[in-house]
Amino acid sequence: MGANDHHESFPWKHIIGFLLSLVLTFAALWAALSSGLPLKTVIVIIVVFAVIQASLQLFMFMHVTESDSGRIQTFNMAYSFFIAVVVVAGSIWVMQFVL
């Protein structure tokens, strides 16, 4: 409870977050479909946009700064990051032999 409990007059944070998410998503789509950039550049752009959007959502929608259980939040995010690295880097390493 606490900080999340009060109702703002208008949810500006959510609207801005939502619009920025849409912009980032469509920008990624454009980069992939019609930018004409080389494949590697496209992948880098998409990954960068994804990371920005993930952090955006953490602050705009998930109230990451408002919680009183900071240790749990930090641990959660560190562990999520670890799993993401394991899944992505691990898959690339494992599938190297067919790439």
């Binding site: 899944v87 390493w93 494992v94 599938m95």
Partner: protein
């Protein structure tokens, strides 16, 4: 599409199943109408958000699915008993081993575990419900309709037939026409969403809703294992969600993620499947460890030995479970560096697991053991699971795995860990918590019959398979020639499977018998239990605890009994209790998921869109809903407490 393609035709077994399904449905409708129970069904069950009722529904589904998966198993054993049998043809056999695997893992083991955790966890931590009761109902109904969608495939459209792992390219459009594998992709997706929400729900429940005084290191071991299981669910299931979505796109919309042509990567499916799949096996085994810990400590009448080491080893197992997945496909060709790394991490899992085994043994040591049915399952688990674990370490050696891979040696190994681990735990938990669920005890004499029949049958069925594997018999072959010399061991295995089937029938009879004649549990604490669920009445009143219990140590209820002679409730301490309202929306939203899923399976997109619109409608209605639940007044609590404790 012609009707003869829509319904599965041409198999006498299927026609018999059609008749059985129609008769059962007519029977259910008749009984509900005759006894005027429709309203009762809707108000008490379909719209409930009570964690105990949701748990009971999970377990009922799990037992039904155990029957379905068990019949699949018996059909396979019948076909393999003698060489060159003509009982099932190759296609039918493929479908049956596929549905057997998928159903047993996702629609039997998972709901059984989730059912027990629904019933027990809020009670063990002294809470009145889960953190998000509405979400909990939605989780259940999504699981239910996902399972239903998967199960109708064998009479409508045809079952999936590419194995429970659904490896590409076999499971893709290039090699699997028909709708069978569409069912796999869509049904697993729907029930998977439900599971993911359960994971979040129980993580929050356990972290936020523990009774005052219950620090993390005072939590009962079962609750600890569920907490860690939730972490596994939350991190593993999204991988399945994504993989299944890609599979759905490939199969239904013609994308090329896992195809052979156009730059698709068929082996990536195996990789993604097992990134989810290996944590998944720990999702079903860790709660089992928790159940055994509770049962062993209760019936050895001792505090659990090495509590902190137990917690540490669960966390260790959970951590390791995410970095071992390649051991499921050592033979795919990733090379020595990859295989060696994953071989070492896999063997490392044996260390925390070994720690746990020794902790159970030391808990039993010098205990005053009561050999109840639940305890028998737990004691049998230890040696049987060790056989499965040791052969697992053998399989973990990448070089040796080239010999064992996809042979019956592997089949024997994972049945020894999954049956001796998870299934034994489900039966132990069922017997142990049955009085808490229904207010009467499952008959012990019949329970022991089930135990001996099933446990002996299990060993007769699966032990020979290790040797069949070493003799060269491979997984998923539907028949074999007589001169291979496999016949005697196959006959033995079939006899064992039949014994397991008889054990299951005795269990079902026991449920009926105990409902009619079973000993009623008036105390709420039939086993002299140690944790808070035994402080409530059996079955508990729907708000669980009239006042929130205060926890002073591990084994909270045991301490209460020793210090205060039980859980003391003073009437002047009662306050109005806040409870969540029932809702029919989780049910009809899940029906909408089912309709949308069915439309996707058959590529009837108009139907899929209609279903999807109702899902969105449900989400919108929920967003604007202003229902904060209701309060039970103190007088009402007093009346209900007296009624529940009558005769205590």
């Amino acid at each position: 599409m012609k009707w003869s393609e829509f319904f599965v035709t041409g198999e006498p077994l299927i026609y018999a199943a059609d008749v059985a399904i129609v008769l059962t449905m007519v029977g259910i409708v008749f009984v509900l109408t005759y006894f005027k129970k429709w309203k009762w069904l809707w108000n008490e069950w379909l719209t409930t958000v009570d964690h105990k009722k949701i748990g009971v529904m999970y377990i009922i589904c799990a037992v039904l699915m155990l029957f379905r998966g068990g019949v699949d198993a018996l059909l396979m054993r019948a076909q393999l008993t003698a060489p060159n049998m003509k009982f099932l043809d190759a296609q039918h056999y493929n479908e049956i081993f596929t549905t057997h695997g998928t159903i047993m893992i996702l629609f039997m083991a998972m709901p059984f575990i989730i059912g027990l955790m629904n019933i027990v966890v809020p009670l063990q931590i002294g809470a009145r419900d889960v953190a998000f009761p509405y979400l909990n109902a939605l989780s259940f109904w999504l699981f239910f309709f996902g399972a239903l969608l998967f199960n109708i495939s064998f009479v409508i459209g045809g079952s999936p037939d590419a194995g429970w792992t659904a490896y590409f390219p076999l499971a893709g459009n290039e090699f699997s026409h028909g709708v069978g594998n569409n069912y796999y992709a869509v049904a697993l997706q729907i029930s998977g969403i439900g599971t993911l929400m359960t994971g979040i729900n129980f993580l929050v429940t356990i972290l936020k809703m523990r009774a005052p005084g219950m620090t993390l290191m005072r939590m009962p071991m079962f609750t600890w294992t569920i907490l860690i299981t939730c972490v596994l669910i939350i991190f593993a299931f999204p991988v399945l969600t994504v993989a299944l979505a890609l599979m759905t796109f490939d199969r239904i919309f013609g994308t090329q993620f896992f195809t052979m042509a156009n730059g698709g990567m068929s082996m990536l499916w195996a990789n993604l499947f097992w990134i989810w799949g290996h944590p998944e096996v720990y999702i079903v085994i860790l709660p089992s460890f928790g159940i055994f810990s509770e049962v062993v400590s209760t019936f050895a009448q001792k505090r659990l030995f090495g509590y902190k080491a137990m917690v540490g080893s669960i966390v260790g197992i959970a951590f390791l479970s995410f970095i071992v997945w390649v051991h499921h496909f050592f033979t795919m060709g990733a090379g020595p560096a990859v295989n060696s790394a994953f071989s070492i991490t896999t063997m490392a899992i044996a260390i925390p697991t070994g720690v746990k085994i020794f902790n159970w043994l030391f808990t039993i040591r010098k205990g005053k053991i009561r050999f109840t049915t639940a305890m028998l399952w737990s004691l049998a688990f230890i040696p049987n699971f060790v056989i499965g674990g040791v052969t697992g370490v053998m399989l973990a050696m990448a070089a040796a795995d080239y010999q064992y891979h996809n042979s019956y040696f592997l089949i024997a190994h994972f049945h020894y860990v999954l049956i001796a681990g998870t299934v034994f735990a489900c039966f132990a938990g069922l017997h142990y918590w049955y009085p808490k669920m229904f207010g009467h005890i499952l008959n012990e004499r019949l329970g022991k019959w089930t135990f001996w029949l099933f446990m002996i049958g299990f060993n007769i069925c699966f032990f020979p398979m290790y040797f069949l594997g070493l003799m060269g018999m491979t997984r998923r072959m539907y028949t074999y020639s007589a001169d291979l010399g496999w016949t005697p061991l196959n006959v033995v295995a079939t006899v064992g499977a039949a014994l397991m089937g008889i054990g299951f029938i005795v269990l079902c009879y026991n449920i009926y018998y105990s409902a009619r004649y079973g000993e009623r549990d008036m105390t709420g604490d039939p086993w002299n239990g140690r944790t808070l669920e035994w402080a409530t009445a059996s079955p508990p009143v729907h708000y669980n605890f009239p006042v929130t219990p205060v926890v002073e140590d591990l084994d909270a209820y045991w301490v209460m009994k020793k210090k205060y002679g039980g859980f003391q409730v003073k009437e002047e301490d009662l306050k109005p209790i806040h409870m969540p309202s029932n809702s029919g929306r989780p049910f009809w939203m899940s029906v909408a998921f089912f309709v949308a899923g069915f439309g996707l399976v058959f590529k009837w997109f108009a139907l899929a869109i209609v279903g999807a619109l109702f899902i969105v409608l449900g989400l919108i209605l929920r967003s604007f809903e202003d229902d904060d639940g209701y309060y039970i007044p103190v007088d009402e609590i007093k009346r209900m407490e007296r009624a529940a404790r009558k005769g205590a």
